[in-house]
Symmetry: C2
Amino acid sequence: MIVAGFGRFGQIATRLMLANNFTVVLLDNSIEQIEIIRRFGWRVHYGDASRIDLLRTAGAEKAKLLLVAIDDREKASELVEAAHQAFPKLKIFARAYDRRHAYELLKTPNVTVERETFESALNMGRKALLKLGLSERRASRAAAVFREQDDRFFKELAPVAGEEEAYIMATRDARETTERLLRTEMQRIAEEEDMEDAPQLEPAHRLEAEKERV
Amino acid sequence: MIVAGFGRFGQIATRLMLANNFTVVLLDNSIEQIEIIRRFGWRVHYGDASRIDLLRTAGAEKAKLLLVAIDDREKASELVEAAHQAFPKLKIFARAYDRRHAYELLKTPNVTVERETFESALNMGRKALLKLGLSERRASRAAAVFREQDDRFFKELAPVAGEEEAYIMATRDARETTERLLRTEMQRIAEEEDMEDAPQLEPAHRLEAEKERV
């Protein structure tokens, strides 16, 4: 496979590939970045990944996957489009800046996207909930429901993504629906936990409680 | 709680809090960003969160948590430090640009950090492994082992984070150890899966196989 862009994002994805014995060709077009990376022991090729001849030399004809992890929205979009034109069978994974960039990238067929801060933001939210005293289960469930809903609305809102006003309206609705759903789910878990708490009393405590009642 | 910086990152974490009935005060110092956010139906206060008086007005004395999700490394570091000085009991969660920024933020006590692209990059790597034909279990395990190891080395390397050469050497070692561990774990799962595959043959197929052997 080929990885274009070897910064914070590309490195982590690449290391998972290498550990599973996939052959990876790395491309980066910043000389500075390449020098830093080489000092850390990586072999990286220098060159503009948007040049189709360079992608061809890197093996794009036969590669199983092209992973676009460039830290530049426009260049990433251009590369994804050009690579698909030149190698229509190539599967492409692309790092998206945000939701809008994700929609833009998905105009090209055969592309899978990942919003670059989504999962980290969700994880920080989950950890903050834990710090605020929520149970592990409730915090994880909150993140999971949020992800499911976000995924659902991401797909549902795709048709209006290009229309400013319609998109904003739809997003507000989607947000309210997600919040309502999340609130209901959190309430449900809280009630379950309250119920679980009751019979968890030690026999001795239960006796105490009964005594008091007497 | 107080959220400083309400971009892609802050919004997601905030929505998890709101759904769990925490009161959130939002601060952002970009007028443009605030206008966009308000169009989406949010009430956000305008102001430079690094001004202590503004944090105080926002309720920092009593807040359970300050979430710093600013998209500017230096400003985030300054805010984290200043907020801790003024409100030593305040728990702070901070969005870090990368590993180095994370180390910098952690110099201040009472701070929890989250590298802003780490989880998303890991998730993309996991999904790429799935696309390349690995089992759900193997791909998820790869991501989990990577996270565990990364977490371990993040803590272990903290003392040398400020020393350029030592840090680079230690990072190379850590990377090799992680890769070796991951490879071993992936190998182990692959072998387990091969063994599980064998008895999963349908009875009819098993008969066929036996016939052939005869």
